[in-house]
């Protein structure tokens, strides 16, 4: 099968990947870019462990053709760290709130939560649950995950008010 060059911005950097056209976006980002935060969980868009942001919106990279990434801006968990490698507030909140147990689902949850924590007005716990309803966690029972997102959103809103 033919290969194709895909031009996209991944975690702020312009990249070109030569991929087999049969690749999924998760194949491309894990295999060609070494971004291992993306998990191959269910591979059929049920569990959310492969969630990345494409042009600011969460997508399951396992059911997204790599060729569709042409010209897109992609953010993965690795892109949340600052230039020195320090982790972001939402990652720290997951640690502080005990929202991580086995950790397999964590990158997907964090990426799915990015659009919520960037909102200007506080979300209800029900709204947060709805935003992470495409992600499965078999360890935590979700409560601590919702806590981490809720607290990070609150902190950011307070910082903006400054």
């Amino acid at each position: 099968m033919a290969n194709k060059d895909i031009h996209c911005i991944v975690n702020g950097k312009e990249r070109v990947f030569s991929v087999d056209v049969r690749s999924s976006l998760s194949d491309m980002l894990r295999g060609k870019a070494g971004l291992d935060s993306i998990k191959h969980g269910c591979d059929v868009g049920e569990c959310g462990a492969c969630t990345v942001l494409i042009d600011g919106r969460p997508f399951n990279s396992c059911i997204y053709m790599a060729i569709w990434a042409e010209g897109k801006t992609i953010l993965t968990l690795e892109g949340l760290s600052d230039t020195k490698g320090a982790i972001s507030d939402i990652q720290q909140a997951f640690i502080d709130e005990g929202a991580v147990q086995c950790g397999f689902c964590t990158p997907g949850f964090i990426m799915a939560s990015i659009p919520i924590i960037e909102k200007d007005s506080p979300s209800s716990r029900e709204e947060i649950r709805r935003q992470i309803s495409g992600n499965l966690c078999r360890c935590t029972g979700y409560e601590h995950i919702v806590d981490a997102i809720e607290k990070t959103q609150k902190k950011r809103i307070e910082q903006k008010k400054g």
Partner: protein
């Protein structure tokens, strides 16, 4: 890696239609949230695909000169639910597609894919049926207009003939004007689930808001395809807004549906849902329109 054989990548609808003529066995690939999964499961392994996902001319929502709303088929569920024209004129369609899957699925799934799959549980289908949507179907011979009411031929079978591609979904002004609609999806989970039963109702009330001027009701998973209940609609015509109206709509609905037993629910349970959801959805639509039952 997806296990398919050939991938064709048209850059325009015209090129796509030529490719389909040359390769009639190839499947249209829109958002892929059904096809890519069936390829993974092996059901569609070794198929050929025509990738139309990148054709921007098939994406977006606009108001036509005659006042009809034109939804292009590749518009994602998220974009349908957030679009100002949908929020203003047919908010129930946005509310219905907002109950599909989870956020990730709603970002990739397309409204055209939802109806072209031809499954009875499609969350957008009931509301589009209840609003008498008209489909624009393109082929190399031109555009054919088909009422959505005639599109579903059986489970998973739709009236897309050889070489044809859905390129628009229209809701006429006369159809959406002065209507209020409501959709209820009954499922086991609040997200990432397929409807056990879906019911969409829209009403236009008389000017004094005491009677039904027009009521349209459609069900998903109540028959092999999404269906309208014309008996319920006839019962409701001109009816006063009272408890009797809800009874009449429910009775009419029961006369038209033919649900089956599946692993999700039994036929008997679905009949109970039809009756109850016909009542509740009608009541909610009437209230949204500013009417009150037994007011």
């Amino acid at each position: 890696m997806y296990n398919f054989n050939n991938l064709y990548e048209p850059t325009s609808v015209e090129e796509a239609l030529h490719l389909k003529k040359e390769h009639p066995q190839a499947l249209w690939l829109a958002g892929g949230s059904d096809i890519l999964i069936k390829i993974r499961e092996g059901k569609l392994a070794h198929c050929d695909l025509i990738n139309i996902y990148c054709l921007e001319e098939l994406r977006g929502i606009c108001l036509e000169d005659d006042g009809s709303i034109l939804i292009r088929p590749l518009t994602s569920f998220t974009d349908v639910s957030m679009h100002p024209l949908i929020k203003q004129h047919v908010p129930v369609l946005g509310e219905a597609v907002d109950q599909i899957g989870g956020p990730q699925v709603r970002n990739i799934g397309t409204i055209g894919g939802n109806i072209c799959n031809g499954v009875t549980s499609a969350d957008s289908a009931t509301t589009l049926k209840a609003y008498d949507a008209v489909l624009e179907i393109a082929s190399l011979d031109g555009i054919r207009l088909l009422p959505y009411a005639e599109f579903n031929l059986g489970p998973g079978k739709v009236d897309l003939r050889e070489g044809e591609l859905l390129c628009g979904i229209r809701i006429a002004k006369e159809s959406y004007e002065n209507t209020s609609g409501h959709y209820i999806k009954y499922a086991m989970r609040k997200a990432m689930d397929i409807a056990t039963l879906g019911c969409s109702v829209n009403v236009r009330l008389s000017s004094d808001k005491k009677h039904i001027d027009r009521l349209r009701i459609a069900f998903g998973v109540a028959a092999p395809t999404p269906i309208r209940s014309t008996t319920a609609e006839k019962h409701a015509q001109g009816h006063e807004l009272n408890e009797e109206l809800l009874e009449q709509v429910a009775a009419g609905a029961l006369a038209d549906v033919s649900p089956r037993t599946s692993w999700r629910a039994s036929k008997e349970f679905r009949l109970q849902l039809v009756k109850e959801m016909a009542r509740r959805t009608t009541k909610a639509a009437v209230e949204k329109a500013g009417g009150t039952i037994n007011g």
